[in-house]
Amino acid sequence: MSEAREMATRVVKRSLGNVEVCVVLTEDGILAGAAGHENPGVDPEALAAMFAVSMSALEFGLADQGLPRPDRMDLKIGDRHFVVRRKGGHYVVAYTKRRPNLGLVYLVLDSL
């Protein structure tokens, strides 16, 4: 199992059901590993591409204002969240269940 795939699996397991899908991507948008994506309607390749573009746009805008790169981004969609955490040269994207224990999701992503 690749290191990125192992990281994604660890996030899903340690979140105790709060993270349904975890995708690890490189900063240039290449999918490095995924876990929990067997759920219907989730395409890890699409998530990787979507968040690579979003994060690079955000980082560009912040840099333009003299602000540092973000460490974490939380996108709320209805009762679910996409939480993105920068880790080394990768982004780790966690897609949560409905009404998640967000504190636990943050803790798991921070402890990677």
């Binding site: 746009a57 560009f60 805008g61 224990n101 967000l102 504190g103 636990l104 999701v105 943050y106 803790l107």
Partner: protein, 149 residues
């Protein structure tokens, strides 16, 4: 080309940002819960209780106020509360005896659709009556600061 497009998009968004950020901060539970919910040492339920650590957290596992190590403990306490809820036990207050003393968990109200709980550590063994009095006192402080009990 891509960089230029992003830069112009960012500049177009910039004037709207202060209002959006202000609205988000105003809605944050933290602004309502800036007050201290517990007195450091007071009589609760006919028993003097010294509150050593005072943590306020929400049902989604986020720490509103408390020491830095609280972020490592609170999410697991929330998981425990969720499991008890699945067993049909909606916890309003609980007293736990641990290897370090006693912990009182009290549901104190709601802010922005999320339940708010307080967790405090004490060395004295609080009676259930004291725990209930702590919860009532914290609920009153929360209502005074704009939350719903």
């Amino acid at each position: 080309m891509m960089a230029e497009a992003l830069a112009s998009l960012w500049r177009a968004l910039l004037p709207a940002l202060p209002a959006a950020v202000g609205a988000a901060l105003g809605a944050a539970a933290g602004s309502v819960l800036a007050v201290r919910l517990f007195k450091p040492r007071a009589e609760y339920g006919r028993r003097k209780v010294s509150v050593a650590a005072d943590v306020v957290f929400t049902s989604d596992g986020l720490v509103v106020r408390g020491p830095s190590d609280a972020v490592c403990r609170v999410p697991y306490i929330v998981e425990g509360l969720n499991l008890l809820r699945m067993a049909g036990l909606a916890v309003r207050s609980a007293v736990l005896e641990t290897d370090k003393g006693f912990e009182v968990i009290a549901k104190v109200g709601a802010v922005g659709g999320r339940e708010v709980y307080a967790l405090l550590s004490t060395q004295e063994a609080p009676t259930l009556e004291a725990a209930h009095a702590l919860a009532v006192s914290a609920r009153e402080s929360l209502v005074e600061s704009g939350g719903e009990a």
